[in-house]
Amino acid sequence: MATVELRFSALPEHVRTARLVAAAVARRAGVDESVLDEVRLAVGEACSRAVGLHQRGGIGGAVRVALTDQEKRFLIEVEDEAGLDAVPAAGAAEGGEADEDTLGLAVITGLVEDLEVTNGASGGVIRMSWPVSVASVAV
């Protein structure tokens, strides 16, 4: 079970909340202060992408963010409910949706070493994790 789980309506105004919660839980789990900015940004990108997929697919639904404090890693999963139809094809019109999607994924890829992106018929998941500094676990 996730340490903290968050579900929000797939709307842009809630992405900031997800960033703040993720950063707070990561700090408490012992993720190094110097990495928290990256965690905040990566979660924001993953959630923005999920919201974008929902909006492009014209579907409501929720984005789920699971924050799990494993012993040596802090795991974040961002799950959308948009199907494959919402995922823009690579090389779509310049300046269009594919560009935004590509830019978001480029930022996540550049930030996160341990990253897995999967797209499925009933939605996709972005999994990312960061090391936890055992010595600095919050009391």
Binding site: V15, R16, L41, G44, V51, G95, E100, V107
Partner: protein
Amino acid sequence: MDLSLSTRAVGDRTVVEVGGEIDVYTAPKLREQLVELVNDGKYHLVVDMEGVDFLDSTGLGVLVGGLKRVRAHEGSLRLVCNQERILKIFRITGLTKVFPIHTSVDDAVAATD
């Protein structure tokens, strides 16, 4: 924190001072501002990002869109930024090669190349 925007003319340049967080929620406001300026014939823009606390790819997309718009009128879009965490996002995405990034508004306004 929300997004704050203010504009002022310095010579033939228009300085857009941005503060707060540029993300998927607030980026459309920045897009509107840039589109409005270009529609008003302001083709040489300096976007001062010193007051920006957070920037994500949606914000980058808006800046790239702004650059395309001013370039269509032989204009320019320069950025002012000294914050490492913001600059890092430009480096990761390779956009440091696309945008002229200056350390001060004075420097950006004086730049001609």
